[in-house]
């Protein structure tokens, strides 16, 4: 399984990770259309954490013993035994935010609908997740870890 690692020493706090995450989760996958035409604009699954001079980006850690999976009331949040990915099923989500209550990283966000959760999916369709690929100072890198 891929895990995205943040290095706060070289993070400039530019926020491009959030921009490219938004684009990747948009309908058009085009930065101009996603920002100017898509309404509501998709939210970023990665969050840039800032308290100057410190900054780093964080997204779902796909925890081994994921508290969000255990706490989920509806069975929407599951952990894939083979890949180790924590996966969220929008159709089953009831937006109770119990997962939000127990995620230490604040990695679960309210989706634009306001009714379900949105989380990082490690950009399954891409070789390298969009936030990592577009980080200009390589503050985000991908490490392969055992699921």
């Amino acid at each position: 399984m891929k895990r995205i690692i943040a290095n706060e020493e070289v993070c400039m706090g530019c926020g491009l990770c959030e921009v490219y995450c938004t684009v990747q989760h948009s309908k058009s996958k085009d930065i101009v259309k996603a920002y100017n035409k898509e309404s509501p604009r998709p939210i970023s699954r990665v969050r840039l954490e800032v308290a100057k001079p410190v900054s780093f980006a964080i997204q779902c850690r796909n925890c081994e013993d994921a508290p969000c999976v255990s706490a989920c009331l509806s069975g929407a949040m599951t952990k894939d035994e083979k890949t180790g990915l924590v996966t969220h099923n929008k159709d089953k989500c009831i937006g109770c935010w119990t997962c939000v209550m127990v995620c230490p990283y604040g990695a679960l966000k309210t989706d634009v609908s306001g009714k379900v959760v949105a989380k990082c999916d490690l950009c399954q369709e891409l070789e390298t997740p969009a936030c990592v690929a577009n980080c200009p100072n390589r503050a985000l890198t991908v490490k392969e870890v055992k699921p």
Partner: protein, 425 residues
């Protein structure tokens, strides 16, 4: 003979099955459940009544959950007694299921006070899918409902009834609704949105008796409150709370307080007998003592701990506390720990209150550690605050940021940032 026998197949039973299978892929598991299809989410029964969720959507595990985990599921069956000497569970038709390790996960049952009229047609409790189905059927020809109790269940069933177009009156003995979760500023916000939705809220009173219809005394016609007011209604939902279903162990050597007494490995005082979920008194890390905490996520977590230990992987429960995340009439609310301490001077209390935005944030600190969290209408940082609380992190250096919009993981001490966020195993 089954290596593992679990009585009860809701949250704690499901958690136990998953944990046992993680440790022991082959040991035989038998689950005994009174319900025919027990793997549904009980907290979702209000969504079923409101029409938001079908029974299929309420399945919190796969349809073939029991099969997939190679569990013999005795559904629609009742465990009638336990024998700890010969190590078996007796069932309703006289059969016995022998065990090596037994988990009692019988849950809770709704508390119905002794009151005249609770046996009338149109009086409901609200904790199971069969309750929800009966209530939903009744609503086809109901106009006015009275909900007794304004806790988690009472407010959520009220919302469902409003969505179904009923006039709802909610009656609460305490002075405020949701009094176990919120202080008065917090409950005011929810009371306001409920009133706007047309709900009549009566606090500081209870229902004294339920009265039949003039033309048919067997059927609910009204309720009479303690101060004498009469409220006409055709349905009454009793949602005062749940009590542990301890009848299976009452009179046995299993030690009981209000619930079954367990240690942090979910073991009872009887060898090879475990208990978890709403039936057990488990560790509250805020109060540093065991108590009843009938909450779904905690029951799953406790069941997992029991399952690991039953299967031989020694696992200690890290504890829970009174913690709930809800959304009432569109307003998200998260409440964790001691949110409304009586002697306020003994604590440091941080508050952000913007009632016009329905926004309320409150963090209760003791010795620079978080012991209580209330978040109304802005809950995204709840999990980080909970993490700081549960791990007893000293927040002195950044405490004034805890309730600010700018609160961020970047404010945490460098050491904590590194272990928690950056390396991430």
């Amino acid at each position: 003979m089954s290596k593992y026998v679990i009585v009860g197949a809701s949250a704690a039973g499901i958690g136990a099955v998953e944990a046992i299978r993680d440790v022991d892929p082959v040991g035989s598991i038998t689950v005994i459940s009174e319900e025919l299809c027990p793997q549904y989410s009980r907290p979702m029964i209000s969504d079923f009544v409101s029409g938001k969720a079908t029974f299929q959507k309420m399945m919190c595990r796969e349809d073939d959950f029991w099969n997939k985990n190679n569990v013999q599921a005795l559904t629609g069956r009742t465990a009638t007694s336990l024998n700890f000497t010969e190590k078996y569970v007796a069932l309703d038709k006289g059969e016995r299921v022998s065990y090596e390790k037994l988990l009692i996960a019988t849950g809770g049952k709704p508390f119905v006070p002794k009151m005249e009229g609770t046996d009338k047609e149109g009086v409901f409790t609200f904790t199971s899918i069969s309750d929800a189905e009966r209530l939903a059927a009744k609503l086809e020809n109901s106009k006015n409902a009275v909900v007794i109790g304004a806790g988690l269940i009472g407010v959520s069933v009220t919302e469902a009834l409003v969505k179904r177009g009923l006039n709802v009156t909610i009656v609460e003995l305490q002075e405020k609704i949701l009094s176990l979760l919120l202080d008065s500023k917090g409950s005011d916000i929810i009371e306001n949105v409920m009133r706007k939705a047309g709900v009549t809220i009566i606090t500081g009173q209870s229902v004294q008796r339920i009265v039949g219809k003039p033309e048919n005394d067997r059927s609910v016609g009204s309720v009479i409150l303690t101060k004498g007011d009469q409220i006409p209604c055709d349905a009454v939902i009793v949602a005062i709370g749940v009590v542990p279903r301890t009848e299976l162990v009452t009179g046995t050597e299993v030690k009981l307080n209000r619930g079954i007494i367990v240690d942090n490995y979910m073991q009872t005082n009887v060898p090879d007998v475990y208990a978890s979920g709403d039936v057990a008194e488990t560790y509250d890390f805020t109060l540093n003592q065991n108590r009843l905490l009938p909450l779904w996520p905690l029951a799953v977590a406790e069941g997992k701990v029991a399952g690991c230990n039953m299967a031989g992987k020694k696992t200690e429960y890290s504890g829970g506390t009174n913690m709930s995340s809800l959304k009432y009439f569109g307003i998200p609310v998260i409440s964790i720990g001691i949110t409304n301490p009586k002697e306020e001077t003994a604590y440091e209390i941080l508050v952000k209150h913007e009632p016009e935005k329905n926004l309320y944030k409150k963090v209760v600190l003791k010795d620079n550690m978080i012991i209580g969290i209330t978040l109304v209408n802005d809950v995204e940082r709840a999990g980080t605050l909970f993490h700081l609380m549960k791990n007893r992190i000293n927040v002195k250096k950044f405490k004034h940021e805890l309730i600010s919009e700018n609160f961020s993981l970047a404010m945490l001490p460098a050491g904590l940032r590194k272990t928690m966020c950056l390396g991430c195993a």
